[in-house]
């Protein structure tokens, strides 16, 4: 390993002694092959602040250039898919919401749509339930994209944006708390509809938010869009074109930033998205800069969708009429979160034995789902979120598999990073917006 190019050496009784002196730089350099000798392997993660959770990257570097990148996932594997097979269909909502913790409403909606398709009740979902789902999903998309702007900006050195992004997201989490009782892990969208109705208080708060956010978005853009460092770090960085995206299965904002307007809300609509007025923002550069612009534009489109959804909220039921499927209790938000409403408890405990039996059967055993398999894809903030659900006719899922966009998109990281600089690995990885809870499930 040691060569005399660096220092002269002498054997002594204490060991080898090197004498480091100044020398001719050329003679030092001539003894090394900078192309082939300088390849070092750097392990980045799984505990690294800019790897978005527990993602581990193994990078082979030559100087600052990444020659090979390999990602290692699985550190957050929790076996949710296996666990689902041991709980009834409704309990599944509480599991899937914990997968991708930045977009819980999407996980729940995908699952609910799949179970409804298996049950054959897709057309019985009430107008109001569908509108609330759209409302919640779009709010969730905004909050997820805000976290993306916040964390990505932080990883590229703009700490202030991180604080602002999380501040606005907090506003949405408060709205979620009013509606579902919880800031995250809501289990709000359930097979058959949603857990309970949206209170008026939340509508007021959402309207305030609709007024507030455009101003705040303008502030982000003022801070980032013309910022030389931001431009330098994002433009022509981690480029992936449409062919690369489709081959690697990358969907969502990353695919749209490359120029293909593929958005399942438009191309294969669900929850009545075909009746809403909104655009699919695209960009043509396929770089981090394009993904930033697409995501900001998507926040604006989501605001439009939220506004339309609010205008459409007509009073009505939020759960299917079929009492063999609908959760028996009228749920209510108490001080400790969502639970059975007190009126319902009074009824089953004091007045109606039949209600109590029905409640007990449906809650402990659950409803049966006819055998078969379905696949439902929805557009999550990260791309196509697919749910493959199989029933064997029982009260519990036989198999549920999530096609997680974080998992699939992360495969594209080597394609983006190899040949670029190590600093751009951070930018490229962040631009995929991976959420490891969803990736590893």
């Amino acid at each position: 390993m040691t060569t005399s190019n660096y220092a002269t050496e002498r054997e002594t009784t204490e060991g080898r002694v090197f004498t480091v002196t100044g020398g001719d730089w050329d003679s030092v350099v001539s003894g090394t092959d900078p192309i082939n000798d300088e390849r070092i392997v750097v392990n980045m993660g799984p505990q690294h602040p800019s790897t978005h959770g527990v993602l581990r990257l193994i990078l082979e570097l030559e100087g600052e250039t990444v020659r090979e990148a390999r990602s290692v996932v699985g550190y957050l594997h929790t076996g949710i898919e296996k666990n689902l097979e041991y709980r009834n269909w409704v309990q599944g909502s509480t599991f899937v919401t914990r997968m991708d913790y930045l977009s819980p409403i999407f996980n729940e909606t995908g699952y609910a749509l799949a179970v409804e398709k298996l049950l054959g009740i897709s057309d019985q979902i009430t107008e109001r339930a569908n509108t609330i789902r759209v409302l919640m999903m779009e709010l969730n998309r905004i909050s997820s994209h805000l976290v993306w702007v916040a964390t990505t900006a932080m990883e590229l050195g703009a700490i202030n944006i991180m604080l602002y992004g999380f501040r606005e997201r907090e506003y949405i989490l408060e709205i979620f708390e009013i509606i579902t009782g919880l800031r995250m892990n809501h289990a709000y969208v359930r097979p058959g509809g949603v857990a309970q109705d949206v209170p008026d208080e939340a509508i007021v708060k959402i309207r305030e938010f609709l007024k507030l956010l455009p101003k705040r978005l303008k502030e982000y853009e003022d801070m980032l869009s013309g910022q030389p460092i931001w431009l330098e770090r994002t433009k022509n960085v981690a480029v992936l074109d449409v062919t690369g995206c489709v081959a690697l299965g990358v969907t969502g904002p990353v695919l749209r930033s490359a120029g293909l307007a593929w958005d399942l809300r438009k191309t294969m609509p669900y929850c009545g998205y075909e009746t809403y007025e909104f655009d699919v923002p695209t960009h043509t550069d396929g770089d981090v800069w394009g993904r930033y612009l697409v995501r900001l534009a998507e926040i604006r489109e989501s605001l439009k969708l939220v506004e339309q959804a609010l205008d459409r909220l007509e009073p009505g039921p939020v759960m299917v009429a079929d009492k063999k499927i609908a959760w028996p209790a009228q749920l209510a938000i108490g001080i400790d979160g969502m639970g059975n409403s007190l009126e319902h408890v009074a009824k089953i405990m004091g007045q109606s034995m039949e209600s109590l039996i029905h409640h007990f059967k449906l809650v402990t055993e659950g409803f049966r789902v006819p055998p078969g398999q379905v696949y439902v894809g929805i557009e999550s903030p990260r791309g196509e979120l697919g749910v493959h659900a199989v029933s064997d006719g029982g009260t519990r899922p036989y198999r549920v598999h999530y096609r997680e966009p974080s998992f699939v998109n992360l495969q594209a990281l080597p394609a983006m990073a190899e040949g670029g600089l190590i600093a751009d690995v951070i930018a490229g990885g962040a631009s995929l917006d991976p959420v490891m809870g969803g990736c590893d499930r």
Partner: protein
């Protein structure tokens, strides 16, 4: 071909039939092959109080759907038949259920079929959305099914391919050369079900630790009941901890 109303309501998946005489609608399960098949709360049966829980169910085979399938399904089938000479040999069954088309493909043909599905002008399934496994233990001799969801962005169509292999010989060709996105998803199916994709560039575990034994999402693999190793110490599973005995 049977008329639609005569078809057994199996939803196109090889699930066991409810035993004759089991009038209760309570779930009758497979004979529990492992503790995983037992019910919750420590009961040793199926959790079924109808008394029929221990009966062995009959197997039911998947049936072909009658033509016409409706929608674009006929077009997809015909286009594949035209573009792929070995169609009759490769496609075992065609199932239409809940508005979704499933082509059951012989496992050794799956990569070829994917190639045609992607490249033929009339098919153009450019995107492989999802690859997942399902274990039909006790319902199908070739119990491990691999399910591919293909999406045609050109025509806005989706189709499902399904290939079944047995647990004794769980081999089928990898489709990574056709759809590079299948890479990690095939690794996941290998990790969770032990399905071996021949020709995969790097078929290693992806979610479970590298030295894990067994394939957790197989139906004969228990939920829990696995000791956990952490920093050299081994913590027994909950049911074998002292306080539970």
């Amino acid at each position: 071909m049977t008329a639609p109303q005569d078809r057994k309501d199996d939803g196109g998946v090889p699930v066991p039939v409810t035993p004759a005489g089991a009038s209760s609608t309570a779930p009758a399960e497979y004979p529990p092959a492992s503790p995983a098949g037992r019910g919750m709360f420590g009961n040793q049966g199926s959790g079924d109080v109808s008394g029929f829980g221990g009966l062995v169910r009959q197997r039911r085979t998947i049936e072909d759907a009658p033509r016409p399938y409706g929608g674009y399904f006929d077009e997809v089938r015909d286009a594949l038949e035209e573009a792929y000479p070995a169609f009759a040999d490769a496609v075992e069954k065609v199932v239409v259920d809940r508005g979704e088309l499933t082509l059951h493909i012989r496992p050794e043909r799956i990569a070829e079929v994917c190639q045609v599905m992607r490249d033929d002008m009339a098919l153009r399934f450019e995107l492989c959305s999802s690859v997942s496994g399902v274990d039909y233990l006790g319902a199908d001799a070739r119990r491990l099914h691999v399910v591919y969801q293909l999406t045609s962005m050109t025509y806005r169509r989706t189709v499902r391919l399904e290939a079944a292999v047995s647990a004794e010989d769980p081999h089928l060709p990898s489709v990574t050369s056709v759809y590079p996105t299948a890479d990690w998803q095939e690794r996941e199916a290998y990790d969770m079900f032990g399905i071996v994709f021949d020709g995969h560039p790097n078929l290693t575990r992806i979610l479970m630790p590298d030295d894990w034994e067994g394939h957790p999402q197989r139906k004969d693999y228990p939920l829990g009941g696995v000791p956990v190793e952490y920093k050299g110490a081994e913590i027994p599973p909950p049911d074998r901890r002292r306080s539970y005995q």
